[in-house]
Amino acid sequence: MSSTKPLLQLRQFLSLRGGEPVFAPLDLDLHAGEAIWLTGPNGAGKTSLLRSLLGLAECEYEGFEFDGQQLPGAWPWLRQHTAWVGHEPAMKAEFTLAENLHFDLGLRGAQPICSVAAALQKVGLPGFGELRAGTLSAGQRRRAALARLALRPARLWLLDEPLANLDTESATLLAGWMAEFVAAGGALMLTGHGQLPAVLPVRRCALELPTWN
């Protein structure tokens, strides 16, 4: 990637909850081919930040650009090129993993770029496609939710605690996949606690609680 312009640029960015700022104003540049790990104490608004980047939660900012375009006008563009996996796996217990992933894409009116089997392979669940989501463990559901990242092209991944509930082996596998995505020119922003597997080089960004005056 030769462009020096960041993919995502935030200036004095604030997420709001009930009209009040959740964290101290944030300045942040995220370039293509770069991963940012959001850290901070509980309640510092890591999830709120990811959600408000997508327009799912209220925010205020002095500057907010995606791919050189100004928000809020560029929200459709941002959403189209961003993949989001939230804290909840967004899977119906009554559907198989294959059905869940198929519907997930179909609701966007899109076609998959690879087979569901291949996507499940990526997250270490080969051959799990015909199992009902309700029969899986929390960690397996989380991995299955991440499989949707493989089905749709995106330039930015926003992942809320993608490695929670995972054993070391799966965490390393997934972190390796994320590192591949970043190396191929993708941009990644993820949250989490504790240690990240070493295969994924990240830049840390600590959110601070807002100062009350």
Partner: protein, 224 residues
């Protein structure tokens, strides 16, 4: 990336219908609830009284109306709880289109499903036999309008922890015209004019057209 709106609409419809089929056991609850309302009413007023004969049609109608209302809260809440609603909100597919598919699936499953309770209710409440077809038709039509109102009510209350009584306060007063036209058609009987049924149909279609837009506005309140 190409975006196919018809594909999005049919996927939403298929998903909701298939989910309802997988959870078909859950449909028994509102169905049984409707029969229960009819039973309690008959016990309350006395099975042999003349009142039961005149009240049979409205009571059957109300039993279905209340049973349908009970399932309204489930329109968006499960999707909000498991995070799927977020994916719908950030999807490039226009939200009202998605919600129309939702409404259609909801009406087909719950509206038509509960209308099928009417013959049993008619039996319990001793509705005159020739009125049953009108009752079925009126319910089939009016449940569409009720589902549309329910869609907006559910969208307005989904951010709240519990819908419950508040949802009743929002939704039930808006049912009044449908109740009047629907019951009016059945009470007027077989030989009467079709005006009330036509009015109910017009109103249902009107509500079903506008409701997805109002519900989309309500769901987006917390956004951008």
């Amino acid at each position: 990336m190409e975006l196919s709106l018809s594909r999005a609409f049919y996927t939403a419809l298929q998903r909701d219908l298939q989910l309802a089929w997988r959870r078909r056991g859950d449909l028994l609850h509102p169905f049984a609830f409707a029969l229960l309302v009819g039973t309690l009413f008959a016990i309350g007023v006395g099975a042999e009284g003349p009142f039961l004969a005149t009240a049979a049609a409205p009571v059957a109608f109300l039993a279905v109306l209340l049973a349908l209302f009970l399932s309204v809260d489930g329109l968006f809440r499960p999707d909000r709880d498991d995070g799927q609603l977020d994916h719908v909100l950030i999807s490039p597919v226009p939200l009202p289109l998605h919600l129309s598919a939702r409404l259609l699936a909801y009406w087909l499953v719950h509206g038509i499903g509960l209308t099928l309770a009417a013959p049993l209710l008619a039996l319990l409440l001793r509705l005159q036999g020739e009125l049953l077809p009108i009752l079925l038709l009126a319910l089939g039509i009016c449940t569409l309008g009720m589902s549309a109102i329910g869609l907006v009510g559910a969208a307005l209350t989904v951010p709240l922890r519990r819908g419950g009584m508040l949802l009743a306060l929002i939704v039930l007063p808006l049912y009044v015209p449908l109740l009047i036209f629907g019951c009016g058609a059945v009470i007027a009987g077989t030989g009467a004019s079709a005006a009330p049924l036509l009015l109910a149909a017009a109103l249902s279609v009107f509500l079903a057209t506008l409701a997805p837009f109002a519900a989309a506005m309500a769901l987006r309140l917390g956004m951008d």
